[in-house]
């Protein structure tokens, strides 16, 4: 017994130990270990930021860390920041998490698809590694304006804040430039500087008037801190917002204050404090005169245009589809659908388009795809294009024109003839170009049933059938109910039925010469008939009593006498059957029939009715 208890104890202890061990192992795993690079594509002149984020449970960090292999990148700056946060996990409850952010500012040494290797760390004896990242570095210069916009999330040297706003915690705004053209991109970054641990952060982004805004960066779950020294004091610094702003009017345009409610260990009772950045005034210059015709002011930046058609041979009367792709850096989302006109074609502009805008790079870039339907108005080989999209390039301070290639289309036949023929459509409108939808395969050559059905008598019979069925059911139900009801008439009906049966039997007894049985039968007929009429048994009554009983029930005297006489006759004949021949039996049968009719005519008085009267 003792041995069994020991064994159970050992098993429980082992299970607990295993559970604790597993728990400990799970506890030691990093919550987050990632390598991110921004931007993942850009030019050779841009800076790239690789960020390694390590978040672990508890207060201790990893035992060892191996940075990524940066390959063809040169590390120009490196910063590390650490923080500790209280987190609420739905499974584990409240817990401490340690966060370590390692930032590497990189410059590419060559163009191409460059690989940044995986970062590795060891935690509780177990090694973990991130995924490698491929960065596409292009040769072409992409910078606009006087400066080079910074990449989102990157950590360039931050211009020092105005000493007047410096405190324990403050918001600092940094535009990448303040003198721009209308429609040119300005990148504005807002930083949170703090010397105390941030307990709560709630941003209140401003509304931008006279500025088209694209979000380049917004922190998602938590702030990523770096360090900066202001006035000899070290601050934790986090980017709280980065926007690409495109002025929509010339003159002085104000970038409003950015507000945030921030609670730190230093604020009284941990209550949030409303912080505000300073305003930034932009000097926005109008675009220079001499804009080409059909210039859309939203096209400020650098753009290209490509065009393609779905076929270069088209029969007269049919249409072709033209894809126009406009790519570039600038406020592409502000642009309008280009109005295109081609000699020899009717152009149907698109109502919608496909759009891809990339805001992960320093410059807002993207493309729009439009699909135009073109209908030839005349035959022969027709030229399409070039499509020209004028734009203003702030890097050269000049208007440029993006041009597509010229496309050739061979139109077979003469659409003008199709449209109206001789004496046809004067306007040249070619509506036949719309293809009709194709023929259907006829699976079964049948006339639709209902086309004939509703004319057919059968249809209306089927229609009336449910109603008829319902009426039949109701009538049958009523009839059955009525038959079940106990009324004088029902009793009489039943009595007649029984009498008929017995009289038929009596006739058989006549034929068989069974006088005793015959008279017995007709005596029963008479008794039952009277019983049915009065509703009480009379067979056991003496003749005198029967006489009085029937008299009380209102039977006529002669009927009573005839009945009593006939019953006595039956009694006599039953006990002396040899005295009755067939003739006498038939005479008795006739009398009984007459007597039954007489009994039926009587309306018996019920004693309870009489008493009531």
């Amino acid at each position: 017994m003792l041995r069994l208890r020991l064994s159970i104890g050992v098993v429980i202890a082992a299970t607990l130990a295993t559970a604790v061990g597993l728990e400990g192992r799970a506890w030691a795993q990093p919550v987050e270990f990632t390598l991110k690079v921004t931007p993942t594509s850009g030019t050779i002149h841009e800076e790239y930021v690789a960020t390694v984020q390590i978040v672990t449970r508890g207060v201790s960090g990893p035992e060892r860390f191996w940075p990524p292999d940066f390959g063809d990148f040169t590390v120009v700056d490196q910063r590390t920041s650490q923080s500790t946060q209280w987190m609420y996990d739905p499974v584990r409850g409240q817990e401490i998490r340690s966060s370590e952010t390692r930032r590497y500012v990189l410059r590419p040494r060559r163009a191409g698809k460059l690989r940044i290797g995986e970062a590795r760390l060891r935690l509780d004896g177990v090694e973990y590694q991130t995924k490698p990242v491929i960065v596409e570095v292009l040769e072409a210069a992409g910078g606009l304006g006087s400066g080079t916009p910074t990449a989102p999330g990157s950590a360039p040297a931050i211009p020092p804040p105005d000493p007047s706003i410096v405190g324990t915690t403050f918001l600092h705004v940094v535009p990448d430039r303040t003198k721009v053209y209308v429609g040119e991109q300005v990148t504005v970054t807002w930083y949170l500087y703090t010397r105390s641990e941030v307990l709560k952060y709630e941003p209140k982004p401003p509304r931008f008037d006279d500025l088209w805004s694209e979000t380049l960066y917004e922190p998602q779950n938590y702030l990523n801190y770096t360090e900066d020294v202001v006035n000899g004091r070290t601050y934790s610094v986090a980017v709280v917002a980065r926007r690409a702003l495109f002025p929509t009017k010339a003159g002085k345009v104000v970038v409003p204050k950015f507000h945030a409610d921030v609670a730190t260990m230093a604020t009284p009772f941990g209550q949030p404090l409303r912080l505000s950045s300073r305003e930034v005034t932009l000097e926005v210059q109008p675009l220079p005169p001499g804009a080409p015709a059909a210039f859309d002011p939203a096209y400020v930046g650098q753009f290209t245009v490509e065009a393609s058609i779905d076929r270069d041979n088209v029969p007269a009367g049919e249409s072709i589809s033209m894809q126009v792709v406009i790519r570039g850096a600038g406020a592409l989302r502000r642009t309008k659908i280009p109005t295109l006109e081609f000699d020899g074609f009717t152009t149907y502009p698109p109502r919608t388009f496909d759009e891809k805008v990339d805001t992960t790079t320093a410059l807002v870039r993207g493309e729009r795809r439009y699909s135009y339907v073109l209908t030839p108005k005349r035959g022969g080989t027709l030229a399409l294009g070039p499509i020209e999209i004028p734009y203003f390039d702030p890097t050269t301070n000049r208007y440029e024109i993006a041009r597509s290639d010229v496309l050739k289309v061979k139109v077979i036949g003469d659409p003008a003839l199709l449209a109206g023929g001789a004496g046809g459509l004067g306007s040249g409108e070619n509506v036949i170009a719309r293809d009709i939808r194709p023929a259907r395969e006829i699976v079964a050559l049948r006339t639709r049933v209902a086309e004939k059905a509703w004319r057919h008598r059968g249809f209306w019979l089927v229609f009336a059938a449910p109603a008829g069925l319902f009426l039949g059911v109701v009538l049958a139900d009523k009839l059955r109910e009525r038959l079940r009801r106990e009324t004088p008439r029902a009793r009489l009906r039943r009595a007649r039925g029984r009498a008929r049966k017995r009289l038929r039997l009596a006739e058989l007894h006549i034929k068989g010469g069974r006088a005793g049985k015959f008279f017995g039968e007709i005596a029963r007929v008479l008794s039952e008939h009277v019983e049915e009429r009065v509703g009480e048994p009379v067979a056991a009554m003496t003749r005198e009593k029967l006489r009085d009983f029937l008299k009380d029930r209102g039977f006529p005297e002669e009927t009573i006498e005839a009945l009593v006489r006939e019953l006595e006759n039956c009694d006599f004949a039953r006990f002396a059957p040899s005295a009755s021949g067939p003739g006498e039996m038939r005479a008795a049968l006739r009398r009984v029939r007459a007597l039954l009719t007489a009994i039926e005519k009587v309306r018996p008085v019920r004693l309870d009715e009489e008493a009531a009267a």
Partner: protein, 272 residues
């Protein structure tokens, strides 16, 4: 005698069935010819075969649709080569058969689309018709013909059966939740049946009494009386919907959507 009876009955049955099967065979043959010609872009032949099929009395929306398509494509081919004679009357008949397909199957999207293409062709050739709301039916007709007649008929029958079925059930069921539910359902079924019945009656009335037709000639001059010498009224173009009011010596008195009435030759109009 009994030995002879079976072959005799079988022979008589075969003789009785022979015309029907021959008719079916002929139809299949015509359909095959029409479809082959259509595939090979010999639209004139396809039209001829389809028309012969229609003449056998078949009411089939896909047949009407394919025939209408053949007319449009024949019109297009004739236009390409500038054959004015070949393309005459094609658009009117195309519109007629699209309308017939849509009458059988109001939700026939392809037919509705192609009908619009055919109407655009007419408008491109002759200019937009000046008759206001020419292709727009009155509200009651649009409501009654919103669903195909077959759908309406079967819906009405189903609701009829359901209504009386529930009545019988309610009569026999004891008082309780199910019976109350059935009574509530009966109200809805009854209301739906009433609506379906009204729509069916409207549809049938429309079919039987309103002779909606289409101008099949490319152009026809409406006149004040059934005589070419009577005063001219507006010129009507292919595909315009009119209602035939009565016949008179080779002429129809027709009413347009704007309630204007006049006479057109019978050959220029065909009932949908």
């Amino acid at each position: 005698m009994r030995r002879l009876l079976v072959p005799l009955v079988l022979g008589l049955a075969t003789l009785a069935a022979a015309p029907a099967s021959a008719r079916v065979g002929e139809r299949e043959d015509l359909l095959g010819r029409a479809e082959r010609a259509y595939r090979e872009q010999r639209y004139g032949e396809a039209i001829e075969a389809y028309e012969r099929l229609v003449a056998t009395g078949i009411q089939n929306e896909e047949l009407f649709y394919n025939l209408a398509n053949a007319y449009v494509l024949e019109y297009r081919d004739a236009s390409r080569v500038g054959d004015e004679k070949r393309r005459a009357g094609k658009l009117g008949r195309a519109i007629l058969y699209y309308e017939r397909a849509l009458r059988l199957e109001p939700g026939f999207d392809d037919a509705a689309y192609n009908l619009q293409v055919a109407r655009d062709l007419v408008a491109a050739r002759f200019g937009a018709d000046k008759v206001k709301d020419a292709a727009r039916e009155p509200l009651w007709i649009r409501a009654a013909t919103w669903l195909p007649l077959s759908t309406l008929a079967w819906t009405f029958l189903a609701l009829d059966v359901a209504f009386f079925g529930i009545l019988v059930a309610v009569r026999f069921l004891p008082t309780g939740f199910v019976r109350t539910g059935l009574i509530v359902g009966e109200v809805f079924v009854g209301a739906a049946g009433l609506v379906a019945g009204l729509l069916l009656a409207g549809h049938v009335h429309y079919r039987d009494n309103v002779r909606v037709s289409v101008i099949v000639a490319d152009e026809v001059v409406m006149r004040e009386g059934p005589d070419p010498s009577r005063r001219e009224m507006p010129t009507l173009h292919a595909g315009l919907r009119v209602v035939i009011l009565r016949e008179s010596d080779g002429w129809y008195r027709v009413r347009l959507a704007n309630h204007m009435e006049g006479y057109v030759p019978k050959t220029a109009v065909e009932e949908i």
